[in-house]
């Protein structure tokens, strides 16, 4: 039997992720519903904080900008969220990683394309929610999204998916050395969400902290796409920002490969 074409193998992985996402769409909708609470909480907070001077700027945000950031960042945060790290950890712990090592398909490629397939479905659903959110923001606060900003947002979102995958791929591979890792994933996840601007804009943390966090890859998973859509990135900075994001993708991919190489040698030595 002829071996499947290289692209065909990973297209099947993409299809697997796509079908899984359709099957677990209720979980995704509940995750999105969970975004309602922080949006309500933060909007109420900002209304009170800006109440004495609605036209003022705080942390570099006007009130409409802050509310728009709050809503869109929450939706983006739900969209780029991963979960495959638990499956990777289960494969390592149970030894079923064995079967992927003998298949004509790389485990990294399998996980990456399954993840992308999963995100295609979620992006379709989220696209509808995002349009609705932008419409409500436009009606309530005069928030406007340009066509150019939308295109850049979509491009940055694709980068965000891959970046977030690479970050959690590196974290998941720690499973080669640690046996009980579930809580660690959650700890890393919440810290990364905070460092990505997924809870509050990084500017809230002050100029020093936000300067440091701006250099790290995390902001490109949530804050960067959000600020592109809300028009807060100066046009002359867009290309440079994309370049930095791609740089981090290369670094994280190399780091992941290095960890995989060491981890798989340990896995093979220890056995299932």
């Amino acid at each position: 039997m002829a071996e499947p074409h290289f692209a065909g193998k990973y297209a099947k992985c993409l299809g697997t992720g796509f079908r899984a996402a359709l099957e677990y769409r209720v979980n995704f909708f509940l995750s999105v519903a969970g975004a309602i609470a922080p949006v309500v909480i933060q909007t109420a907070l900002w209304i009170v904080i800006y109440s004495d001077d609605p036209a003022s700027s705080l942390f570099g945000f006007t009130f409409p900008q802050m509310v728009a950031y709050t809503v869109i960042a929450q939706l983006v945060s739900r969209l780029v969220r991963t979960g495959f790290e638990y499956d990777v950890n289960a494969d390592i712990k149970s030894g079923s990683l064995d079967r992927y090592l003998v298949k004509p398909i790389g485990y990294f490629g399998f996980r990456l394309f399954s993840f992308i397939g999963d995100k295609i479905v979620q992006t379709a659903f989220m696209g509808v929610l995002l349009v609705l959110a932008v419409w409500i923001l436009a009606m309530a606060l005069g928030f406007v999204v340009s066509a150019g900003a939308f295109v850049l947002f979509v491009l940055s979102l694709a980068l965000a998916f891959v970046l977030n995958f690479l970050v959690f791929w590196c974290v998941a591979l720690v499973g080669f050395w640690l046996t009980e890792i579930g809580y660690l994933f959650e700890a890393v996840r919440i810290v990364i969400i905070a460092a990505s601007g997924g809870i509050l804009p990084l500017a809230v943390l002050g100029p020093d902290a936000s300067s440091v966090l701006t250099l790290l890859p995390f902001r490109f998973t949530i804050q960067f796409p959000t600020e592109l859509l809300t028009g807060r990135i100066p046009p002359e900075s867009v290309l440079g920002s994309f370049a930095v994001a791609i740089f981090w993708m290369v670094v994280l991919a190399a780091l992941g490969q290095a960890i995989w190489s060491r981890g798989i040698r340990r896995f093979a030595a220890v056995g299932s």
């Binding site: 922080p38 909480i41 109420a44 919440i190 969400i193 905070a194 809870i199 509050l200």
Partner: protein
């Protein structure tokens, strides 16, 4: 404590969540203005009370509530039914995460103490007893509020989604309830008394708990505890053993 790695990583997870919660405190201090009539130091007391009670929620009964669906689904709930212990007690308190409980409780209490000290409020025995009482009452109300929707598991079996959604509403206490409008506050205090859980201890400590709310803070755990128990006993009659 048998799984020490789990204990340690559990604490790391709670530390991550604590970081997320304190971001709202950072907003208060960074904004440099009073929020709903409360200074940033007083906001710290609210968030500290929230963190302390999250220790109870996350460490004592959250995992039991999330696992209830699985117990019913695979029939393990039968083993709880046959034991000579109150079923509700056993099902909802059988497991605990002491790492999360102690970490959050201690961190929260420290935040409350720092906030009160910076506000110039003397921490005396009546304040400690009063805060502890309303924190305990809030924990009881929180327990009742989370039990009620989870009883759906006896009817629809897979209620993981409900537990997940209920979990997200805990976060409404991450900020003082004064940021919400009057209708929201009224609903959150008297109808679905989620704000009683963490706001009342803080308001008492700050000396800003109105008499009507003071009385409600005493009555609410009794009323909602009775309602939750009644609904649990009624719902458990719907239980039909699942599993193989």
């Amino acid at each position: 404590m048998e799984y020490r790695a789990n204990f340690i990583t559990g604490i790391m997870m709670e530390a991550g969540y604590l970081l997320a919660k304190t971001m709202y405190v950072i907003v208060a201090y960074s904004a440099g203005k009073r929020i709903g009539g409360f200074s940033p130091d007083e906001i710290l007391v609210f968030v500290g009370s929230y963190v302390a009670l999250t220790g109870f929620y996350a460490g004592v009964f959250a995992m039991n509530l999330f696992q209830l669906s699985r117990l019913v689904h695979d029939g393990s709930f039968d083993l709880i039914l046959v034991k000579p212990v109150n079923t509700q007690f056993l099902a909802t308190f059988r497991r605990s995460d002491m790492g999360a409980f102690f970490f959050d409780t201690i961190a929260g209490i420290i935040m409350v103490i720092v906030g009160l000290a910076r506000s110039g409020i003397a921490i005396d025995l009546p304040l400690v007893l009063g805060w502890s009482f309303f924190a305990s009452a809030g924990a009881a109300v929180g327990y009742a509020l989370w039990i009620i929707p989870m009883t759906l598991v006896f009817r629809i079996v897979r209620a993981d989604a409900i537990a997940g959604l209920a979990d997200t509403f805990w976060d409404f206490n991450n900020v003082p309830m004064v940021v919400y409008n009057r209708i929201g506050q009224a609903v959150g205090v008297f109808v679905i008394p989620i704000f009683v859980i963490t706001n009342f201890p803080a308001l008492f400590a700050l000396g800003r708990l109105p008499p009507v709310w003071f009385a409600w803070g005493i009555a609410a755990p009794v009323i909602f505890g009775w309602i939750a128990s009644h609904i649990w006993n009624s719902a458990i009659k719907q239980y039909a053993s699942g599993g193989n």
